[in-house]
Structure formats: C-alpha cells, structure tokens
C-alpha cells in the first residue's frame, strides 16, 4: 500500500479550475518531484494534501494518507496528521516563521501539541533538533528570534520544525527559491541527509533541483499532470511536448554555445567605484569597494554574485540613482557625475535600466502607450502626439507587442509582456547602454528565453552594450560575453565567459559554478557545496573577504586583502590563484 494516494483531485476557485483530475501515489521513503511553471497547480496540490487551501477553494476527489481518507474540512483529523505525519517546509522562511516568537518556542509548541514531549524533555529535544539541522550553538539559538538569523539558518529552522515530529512524509514547497545559490545546495543536501526513511515531495519550478535528487517526477501544466515517470527516463526521453519544452527552455551551465568575447572599444569605464550606506543604527556599510570595470561596445557584460555582493548598488550608483562615495565613471570621454536629475540630457538618454519586477516598474495608473511614450515627451517635448504614437508603435513591435496593447494597463499583462513593455520604454530613447538588473529572474522558462533572444536581437541590430546583472550563472553562460564576479562588495574575478566557465581562477567563482543546479540527472555532481553563508556587510572578514568559506585559505589570506591582478587574460583577486588547482569545469 502506498503512503499517499491522490485520486482525481480537482480544485477550483469559482469557475477557474486550478487543479484538474490529478492522480498520483507516493510510496514510503520515496522522493518525488512536482515540477511545473508558476500557476501550474503544483503548490495548490500540496496545500490540498494538508487541508490548507483557502476557504474560497472547492476541492473534490480522494486523498488517502496511510490508508485513511483525508477529508477537507475535518480539522480535528487533519490536525493529527499535520506536523505529526506530514511535515511541511515553505518557500520563504522569513514569512513562514513567526517573527514575534523565539524559534525554540515555535518548535516546542509542535512537540506539546502532538504530545511527543513536554517540559524539559521537550526543550532538550528542540535543542537536539536545532543541532541536527546545523545551527551552531543550539542552546543559545533556542532563544533567538527569526529576524536575527540569516536566510539559510532560518530555512534550517523551518526544516527542523518540519522534521521534529518524525513525520512519514515531508513536503517541501520551493524550499530554496528565496535563498542564495551556494546556500541552496546546502539546504537541499540537508533535506536529503536528515529525512532518512521519510518520503519527500519536492515542489519546484527548477528542473535542475529535482534532477539529481528525486527518484520520480510529476510534470504539471495548467492544473494537470502531463507526464510522470522515473527521473532518469523522463529527462533522457521525455514524451510529452510540454516536458520537452520545459527541458529545452531550462538554461544549462554545462553545455551549449557561449557567445565569444569581442574586442570592441570601451564605451563605459568604471574607475575605483565605492558605494556606502548608513544603516538604521548610523553605521557606515560598504556596499561596493574600489571596483574598476569597463564595458565594451556591443558586448554583454555579466555582473554576478549572491545577496550582499553589491552588484545592484554598483549599477545604481553608475546611473546616479544613489551617490558614489568615491571613484568615477567615464562615458564617451566625459565623466558621469552627480544624481541622475543633474546630468546632461544626452547622458541620461544613453544609459537605461530594466528592473527585475516588471509589475512594480510600470505605473499601475498609466496606459502602456503613456508608459512607453513618456521618455519621448521628456526628451523631445515638441514632438506631436501622432509622431510619438508612431514611435511607440514601432518600438512595441520591435519587442513583440502589437497596437492592441496601446490602451491597456499594466495589470492586464502577463509577466513576460510587462517586461517587454519595460524594455520598450528603456529602448525608445535608443540608448547606447542598457542595464538589466535581474531582468529575467521573475520569469518562467519560455518567457525568459524569449526576453533573452529579444535582447540579443536588439544588440545585433544596433550595437547596444548591455550590463546584465544576475545571480543565475546558467543564464549568464548562454547570453553574456564577459563575466565579472562580485563578493561582499568586491570584484574578485573578471574573465571572458568561456574562460570563466571552463577554468575559473577564484575559488568562489568555482563554487558558484558548482552550486548551479543542472537539469540533467546524469550530469549531477557530488561535490561538497560551499560551507557557510555570505557574511554581513556590518562585519566583513579581515584579509580576503572570502577566506572564512574558502577551502584553500592560508595565513596570508586571513591577513591581507588580495588585489585584482592580471592572470592569463583574466583578472582575479586571490593570493593563491597560481598555487591551487581548481580543475576544469565545463
């Protein structure tokens, strides 16, 4: 008998069916992946298993857990299963943990509720569990509030809470989506290591995560399971069209064409740029330290790094949205100085930005025509509204939208369409440099691929230079000519894409590449992920800022900060770059 049997599950909100005739089984100890794009019904399915659907949802169909039917509204019966027999890990540990309650208390409450232990025994069990998930000094962490922990540590607490009652099934809904890529690997390994014979239902949009970790996969599309099967066969011989498309659209870090680096002349020079913030307590935080970088004509330069790397602060200071504390930026022979409002019109026109979240980048009260046309009315105030409309239409066509969109409002667009509008607004002034700040991070596979193709087409046509900020190295590999890697505000390696991905020079670059999941069960590696997390900007480590996490660190690394230096065509900031063998990647 299977542990979990789902039979003809249907969930609808009014007339809108979000899950439609879904049936599957999970056996004891098995790990099953639920994959699909956002809105495909995979999370709704998981919520239904625990009876956590909102009240407006109507669900029908059978769910049997360990031989007992789970009835949607029988809260008493559900409460005996929730937490005790089925544990759950949610996406964003910041939101999913109670910010007003010490973490030890949150865990202890589960033990009390299910009568597993009480009093001092419960406390001891909580401390032991916190230790098992890798919290240093678990006795002290018992009394800590969630906001005092890093993102990775918070997710470890979530896992501790899900496993403390030793459930038979663990559901993890996008458990690493809110985390940095090096931490993602740690968390996934931890889940695997701790679950023993607990069955795992792993829900994700990222095929790379399930590839090496799940025995079986269920592929969701528009509320239905379109394909299921053993992971290996599903990846090597997908039968369903949607599965094939998902696989084709998933960027791979280990293969595919790399755009060759050109040698055009420099259009933008950044010299020793530093940016600092003052935090609430009045302390100065160095977000960017002494970064020098150049952007060439018609090239796409990637800036990659995890949270706190300073990549966004760097470009925002270049654009004049935040002040640069020291250093300078030279564009077309003249310095770019001061806040954006004080810059010459031509300088403003030539540098444009595309944001990560298109929903927030478009004014909800303005029609698409006005959103895209506004830059024109600022830079060519005399132009007639007719000529402006023609220009808007032309640029919309270029990004793949037609005149039907002119009168629409942003909320009437999908994520991909909204991002096209944002790109159209940035391109309508015919800039020389386009900065994309995580511009495809919020998009699903197909929409992401199309935006990347669009950017490439524009570049080929007009010789646009692009700065492409991303945390996702597999996207960078297929779309950027050169890569700059940042860590804790410092530039640590700059190299041609090809060189960086085949033979990285800095241990951190290597770790980033290794941590990127590959959507291929055969390619999945078993290297140990980077340990620890990105330190706080408040207290950056001495010497080389990477040394606490570096396997090669020596005395010198702890004491003096390495300078960026030339090494066989690349630039790298590592004392030991020549002395260590990082091996070849892809």
């Amino acid at each position: 008998m299977s542990l979990l049997e789902v039979n003809d599950l249907r969930i609808r909100y009014g007339d809108n069916a979000v899950v439609d005739a879904v049936s599957f089984e999970v056996n004891r100890g098995e790990s099953v992946g639920l994959v699909g794009e956002s809105g495909s019904g995979k999370s709704q399915t998981a919520m239904a298993l625990l009876g956590l659907l909102p009240r407006s949802a109507r669900r029908t169909g059978g769910i049997r857990f360990d031989g007992t039917e789970i009835i949607a509204n029988d809260e008493r019966a559900l409460d005996r299963i929730r937490g005790r027999r089925i544990g759950m890990v949610f996406q964003d540990p910041m939101q999913a943990l109670n910010p007003y309650l010490r973490i030890g208390k949150q865990l202890r409450e589960i033990l009390l509720q299910h009568r597993i232990a009480d009093g001092a025994a419960a406390d001891a069990q909580v401390v032991a569990m916190l230790g098992r998930v890798g919290l240093p000094d678990p006795e002290r962490q018992f009394d800590v509030f969630p906001h005092q922990l890093s993102g990775g540590m918070r997710q470890r607490v979530m896992i501790a809470a899900a496993l403390i009652a030793e459930p038979d099934l663990l559901i993890a809904d996008e458990p690493t989506t809110a985390l940095d890529v090096t931490v993602q690997a740690q968390i996934l390994d931890l889940l695997e290591e701790l679950r023993d014979d607990t069955a795992l239902l792993l829900i994700t949009h990222d095929l790379g995560i399930v590839a090496g970790r799940c025995e079986r996969l269920l592929v969701f599309e528009k509320g239905k399971i379109v394909e299921s099967g053993a992971t290996a066969s599903l990846f090597t011989a997908p039968r369903n069209e949607h599965t094939k498309r998902l696989l084709a659209d998933a960027p791979r870090i280990d293969r595919g064409d790399i755009p060759p680096a050109g040698c055009g002349k420099t259009v933008l020079g950044i010299e020793s740029a530093s940016v600092s913030y003052s935090d609430n307590g009045g302390d100065e935080l160095q977000a960017v330290r002494d970064v020098s970088l150049s952007l060439r004509e018609a090239e796409t330069l990637a800036i990659v790094g995890e949270s706190g790397s300073g990549k966004s602060s760097l470009v925002r200071s270049i654009l004049g949205l935040i002040p640069m504390r020291s250093g300078r930026v030279v564009y077309a022979g003249a310095p770019l100085e001061g806040p954006v409002q004080k810059r010459a019109a031509a300088q403003r026109r030539d540098l444009q930005l595309v944001f990560q979240d298109p929903a927030s980048a478009l004014n909800p009260q303005m029609r698409i025509e006005d959103v895209v046309g506004e830059p024109l009315s600022v830079h060519a105030p005399g132009s007639s509204s007719d000529s402006r409309r023609q220009a808007v239409l032309a640029i919309l066509e270029k990004v793949g939208l037609n005149k039907d969109y002119l009168r629409r409002y942003p909320h009437q667009l999908s994520g991909g369409q909204a991002q096209r509008v944002a790109i159209a607004r940035a391109l309508i002034l015919e800039p020389k440099i386009l900065i994309c700040d995580e511009a495809v991070a919020a998009l699903d596979g197909a929409a992401r691929r199309k935006i990347l193709e669009l950017l490439k087409a524009v570049q080929d046509e007009s010789g646009l230079s692009i700065i492409f900020i991303s945390h996702d190295l597999s996207v960078v590999r297929s779309s950027c000519h050169r890569v700059a890697v940042m860590y804790l505000g410092l530039l640590i390696e700059v190299a041609n894409t090809e060189a960086l991905f085949s033979a990285p020079r800095h241990p951190y670059s290597r770790a980033l590449i290794d941590a990127s999941p590959i959507p291929d069960p055969l390619a999945a590696r078993a290297t140990a992920p980077l340990k620890g997390e990105v330190p706080s900007l408040r207290s950056p480590p001495s010497g080389c800022v990477f040394h606490p996490r570096c396997a090669f660190a020596e005395e010198q690394c702890r004491e003096t900060r390495p300078q960026l230096r030339n090494l066989e065509g690349a630039r790298v900031a590592c004392h030991r770059a020549e002395g260590i063998d990082l091996g070849l990647c892809y």
Binding site: L321, R348, L353, F355, A361, L362, N363, E374, A422
Partner: protein, 265 residues
C-alpha cells in the same frame, strides 16, 4: 455604499430645500405653540421647542451648518495633511524624521482640551471651529499620505521615470499623485464624521455654534434639557446625527475596501 450615498444626498437636499418650503421660520418664537409634539398638521413635522420655534426648520438648519463645518474642516485638513505628508514622504531622510516627530508629538496631546480652551479664550469665534477641527484631523491624513508617498517613492516606476529624465514636478503629479488619490478619497470621507463629532461636541457643550443659529450638537443639547417632558427634542436630532455619521462611516469603509481590492491586484 449606494445606500449610504443616496441617504446622504437625500438628507443634504432636504436640508437645503426644506427650510424654504416650510411656512415656519427658524428663529421666530411663538409662545402659543411651545413644546408641541411632532405631527403632520401645520407642517410641524418635528414639533416645537420650549420657545415655540419650529424644530423641523431648525433641525434642517442644524444639518446644513453641521455638514458645512464638517466639509470645510475636512478640506482644511486635506490641504494641510496631504501637503505635509507628501513633502515629508517625498523628501524623506532627516527632514521626514523631524516632521513626523512633530506629528507624533501633536498626536499625543489632548487636543480637544486645547480646542475648548481656544473657544473660550477667543469668544466662540465661528471661524475658529474650522481651524480647530482642521488642526486635529490633518494629523491622520499627514501620516497616511506620508507612508504612502514613502513607499511609492521607492517603487521602481518612479526610479524609471527619474532615469528617463522626468522632472520632479512631473513625477509628483504624473506618478505619485494619481496613486495617492484612492487613499486620500477614503480618508477624506472618514474625516468628515470625525469633524462632525468635534463640531457637535463643542456645540453640545455650548461652545460651538451660537443661538439663534444652531447645529445638530446644539439641538441635542437643548433636547437633553427637555428630555423628560419632550423626548422628541432629543431623539430626532440625535437620530439624524447618528444616521449621518453612520452613512459617512459606511461610505468610507466601502471606499476603502474598493481601493484595497484594487491595490491587491
């Protein structure tokens, strides 16, 4: 929402038109007709008071003045509150901190006592009622507008506008103001009943509108003195006052739900 708006509109129209149509006057005393109970004969729908004045006409007049004071006071608080809040929110940083510290400080004061002090000291000046009520209500508006502006200013579409060179004035009017409109409409609607409460409170204490003029608060005050023999003098203006307040509160709540729903999407 429709019901509240319809009732308010009806009451407003009645208050404007009825005194013209009635054969009675708001201040003529008639000692042959004191404390008459309400009835249809003679057009004395609400009866008369202890001086024989017609209460229907007086009540309608009271509604006029109550609404006038409340609406003007709300507009005063709207202008002060929105300007103050938008400036603090848009400039941000230290200026914002100082401006909001002041608002917090004022917030902690027993304002109504100051207002009473003011009304007594300055001879119950009618104009002062507006100032006093506006001075209380703008604080809420300033806080809300400031919070909203602060979050709008950080929104990426405002940054996008700055990047393409849109001027600050244009950003405020084109990008920030339209997105503030909903919340301002809601809080103006909710500040009208607040203003009505303060005005009628002052009039009830005899510190607001002065005889022979009247307002709903003053009528309730007069009604309290006669309530044992002539309960209509209390109950009619009290019920109308509660009805008007309730309609404004309902309207505000409904508008808030409406704009909240739009915001979520």
């Amino acid at each position: 929402m429709r019901w509240s708006a319809a009732i308010l509109l009806f009451v407003l129209l009645l208050a404007i038109v009825a005194p013209w149509l009635s054969p009675h006057d708001f201040q003529n005393t008639n000692f042959n007709a004191i404390l008459q109970s309400p009835g249809l004969s003679d057009g004395r729908f609400f009866g008369t008071d202890e001086f024989g004045r017609d209460l229907f006409v007086r009540t309608m007049l009271g509604i006029r003045i109550t609404l006038l004071v409340a609406v003007v006071a709300s507009l005063v608080s709207l202008v002060i509150g929105v300007t103050y809040g938008a400036v603090a929110g848009y400039i941000g940083g230290r200026v914002d901190a100082v401006m909001m510290r002041l608002v917090d400080t004022l917030y902690a004061l027993p304002f109504i006592f100051f207002v009473i002090l003011l009304m007594v000291a300055f001879e119950r000046n009618f104009f002062l009622i507006f100032v006093a009520i506006g001075a209380i209500n703008w604080l809420d508006m300033a806080r809300i507008v400031r919070g909203q502006t602060l979050s709008l200013r950080e929104r990426e579409f405002v940054e996008a506008a700055r990047l393409t060179g849109v001027s600050t004035v244009r950003i405020i009017f084109r990008h920030i103001a339209p997105n503030l409109l909903g919340i301002v409409v809601v809080y103006v609607t909710l500040s009208v009943p607040q203003a009505i409460l303060v005005e009628s409170f002052l009039s009830f204490l005899g510190l607001g509108v002065q005889e022979p003029q009247t307002s709903l608060g003053a009528l309730v005050n007069a009604g309290v003195k006669q309530m044992e023999g002539a309960s209509w003098m209390l109950l009619i203006p009290a019920a109308l006052l509660a009805l008007i307040l309730m309609c404004f509160n309902f309207l505000g709540d409904a508008l808030r739900d409406f704009f909240d729903a739009r915001h979520v999407r």
